[in-house]
Symmetry: C2
Subunit: 489 residues, 2 copies
């Protein structure tokens, strides 16, 4: 593999570095001076991948920490921190959004960069730690101190590989590898290739303990990377088993047959992404080929972060699946998808029609009172294996009947459903299938064009936004039909 | 309830008694004289319901025991016993069939009566018992001694009730109540009505111990009737849970609403049993109404007793059901039926079509060698929940495909199947459904008329036999559609 060529693409050049340095310096200067003016005792620190020189070209997220003395009250810390952050945003004419990790921080968009300005405590070691974000400065220090220059390239290769196989990023939606975790893997295994070689051989219970804290037995995860700066923390704790095994699978595939394609976005079979109907026919034919029944459920979702939406969609899908399977239908696969105010659940059935009657199983005939009660209430009672059973007409003979029933305002409580989704599902859900997906699209175009909610939430011009939504949806269907395809190039 | 009227129908009249007495005397005399001639030391005893005066009019099965001294070798006992029995059959010009309980005995048809002539040991108590049949003479003695005259009528009512709700008869196929068990119930509860009243209130673990043997804890059954003549035996041991609970259900129904109809054969909805297509249309419509898929599998069965055939049909049905359900089909109900050399299995499906593809679940990716092996052998491998999975085309998308596959000579070993059925299934099975049942009947008429095997096994004239087969089959379908109907009049 010609890693030099790949690095040329992914490593920030001097120009990019200079631009970032300029903006970082400006931010630090503004906050620092304002702090002096306010009489706050602070240190303004660059942290994260920029500080560590391990960011991928073009994806520089700037992390600025304002650290306060540990003696400061936490309320005071929040107030002062946010005050400085908002001030900086104002001066630089940015777009600010308040976010929340252990406590509030500010995300600011300045000159095309996303900057997190995070108030924290200034600590020397984790014994002083007051909240989880405080740890970040220790992480940065540790990596800056230990990661050798040539290893930074290895980190970049690993991050890029992980990004393109979609296991990079520790935010909740992804559940993947954090940047810090990548760096520790390189510190441990020395190089990108060696990391993948080792990962492809991982057996359950992998332990990496760079500082010999000897605390791995505290953790139950399959990948345990003891935090060098905090012996009580597994850096891989938030990594999901799914992303971990995906990384292993891709590593095996890469080691067996290394290809440059692993360092670029996955190229789908339908490559012309300028027309949003390109590939649709192919996708629909693949669904038809499966000889199952697919029900798509679309509904609007409220304006909350995708990190909040996804767990709710998951919960909703699972609850719906469980209820439908209790009724006798069998679901071979399901998925959920959301993009810009719209969600689509996909349910795929192996069994979607059921007989007219079902058994209502009553008590064993040995239980005298229960038996008498059961017989007195029901018609058509017979005996089977010692149980009294009522033969009764099935209420829901198709999945659609049940879905229409349960998505009514008074019935939706039957499901365990995301709290933010209830109203929007009841008010906006629609069902469609593989055969009437066209109808859905034309309806949907209408909705996008006319619905004031969609106008509001769209942060692009509509004509750009609609095809973008379709692309994402098609891509999600393509991934649905070809699971793991991006893990094997 | 006017029990007098019922008793008039079911109690043997003097004429019937005289006829039976005459034949019994004749048999005893013939065997006794022959024994003297041969120099055998024997006692010839009448046992069973005739001896106890508890037989239902028209269903007198005569049981004659030839008892030998306990010192006699068992081989000698068999030889001498059968010699005397065969001799008796010859003299009376009967039709003899050798049968087997603990050891061989002879069933003889004489003058329209079925007579069992059974060699056994002459014992005074069970400590002397050499085989299970020896016990019979003790049972007869016990009942003759304890059952009062007026209680014999109560026994008749109970036997008749049980017969008509189809729980009477302890042979393997029925698994119901033995005559001796009925007599003990009456001894315990005093009368027919009281027995039903008590039975309708039975809760698990009913114990009846007339002689206070205090050995009920030896048995695990729900109904324990300690044999007065043998403290180590539960008289209800061979009673199936199914027949026991059916008796309880019918008792509840009778006590709630007593009707004379319980003492007559169950009257089906289609009552004209002279035309074998009467009722068929109704039955087919009821099947259609269920909106399931029904597959009937017919095949010839060898000439062995129905007691042997039924367990094999059950085993075959269950194995077929299990295999089909492993493939993803769901079976809501099944049954089996056999009459005069022909068997029909009925399988009813809630799910009978499946998607084109299935998952072949491989090892967890953590198991290195197994994973490499799996990936090297299969195409289309993806990762799901940490498992490597092959997407492969389903081999059997309909139940019929599988049945045709598995009923081939080389494949039938996949099923756990009755040993006497394998060849006949492979060579003669046919599938039909609710819609082509007519085709089946015309084919079947042909088979009956032309097939030499059917001619051979038929013990009636064909023109009588064919409709008889149909009736039985229709009745079995009617019972299938209306389980427990005969338990509630």
């Amino acid at each position: 593999m010609n890693y030099e060529d790949i690095l040329k693409r992914i490593k920030p050049n001097q120009n990019e570095k200079n631009r970032i340095k300029a903006i970082v310096d400006k931010i630090i200067k503004i906050i620092g001076e304002k702090a002096i003016e306010e009489g706050y005792e602070v240190e303004v620190q660059l942290t994260g991948s920029i500080a560590k020189n391990t960011w991928l070209s073009g994806s520089a997220d700037i992390d600025i920490f304002i650290t306060f003395p540990v003696e400061l009250e936490v309320d005071e810390l929040k107030e002062r921190g946010l005050k400085l952050a908002y001030y900086c945003n104002e001066v630089l004419n940015g777009m600010a959004t308040e976010k929340y990790a252990s406590h509030p921080y500010l995300n600011v968009h300045i000159d095309g960069y996303s900057v997190d300005i995070v108030p924290a405590y200034k600590i020397e070691n984790t014994s002083q730690m007051k909240s989880a974000v405080d740890r970040t400065t220790l992480h940065t220090k540790y990596i800056v101190k230990h990661l050798e220059n040539h290893q930074k390239d290895e980190v970049l290769l690993l991050k890029k590989f992980m990004k393109e196989i979609k296991v990079y990023g520790s935010e909740f939606k992804t559940g993947g590898f954090a940047g810090y975790l990548c760096e520790l893997l390189i510190l441990n295994y020395g190089s990108f290739e060696n990391t993948l070689k080792e990962a492809s051989n991982w057996m359950e219970k992998v332990i990496i303990d760079l500082e010999n804290h000897d605390t791995a037995n505290l953790f139950k995860d399959n990948l345990i990377v003891v935090d060098p700066t905090d012996k009580n923390r597994n850096v891989a704790a938030s990594l999901t088993e799914e992303k971990l095994t995906e990384f292993i699978f891709a590593s095996k595939n890469y080691i067996k047959n290394p290809k440059e394609a692993y360092f670029s976005p996955f190229e789908r079979k339908y490559s012309d992404q300028t027309s949003h109907f390109k590939g649709l026919e192919d996708i629909l034919n693949q669904f038809k080929d499966r000889q199952t029944k697919v029900i798509f459920i679309s509904f609007k979702v409220p304006e909350i972060s995708i990190d909040n939406i996804y767990p709710q969609l998951k919960k909703t899908s699972i609850s719906l699946k469980e209820k439908l399977e209790e009724l006798g239908f069998t679901i071979v696969k399901y998925s959920y998808f959301s993009e810009k105010g719209m969600a689509i659940l996909t349910l795929e059935f192996d069994t979607w029609t059921l007989g007219k009657y079902e058994k209502n199983v009553g008590p064993k005939i040995w239980y005298k009172k229960a038996s008498e009660q059961f017989v007195s209430v029901h018609e058509n009672v017979f005996l089977e294996d010692g149980f009294l059973i009522e033969k009764r007409e099935r209420r829901f003979k198709t999945p659609e009947t049940f879905i229409h029933h349960v998505f009514k305002e008074n019935n939706i409580k039957i499901l365990k459903i995301g709290k933010n989704l209830k109203d929007s599902i009841v008010n906006s859900y629609r069902l469609f299938g593989v055969d009437d997906i066209d109808r859905f699209f034309s309806d949907f175009d209408q909705a996008f064009t006319h619905d004031i909610n969609f106008r509001k939430i769209s942060d692009r011009k509509l004509e750009e936004f609609i095809p973008l939504f379709y692309f994402s949806f098609f891509e999600s269907l393509d991934d649905y039909l070809h699971p793991s395809q991006h893990l094997k190039r």
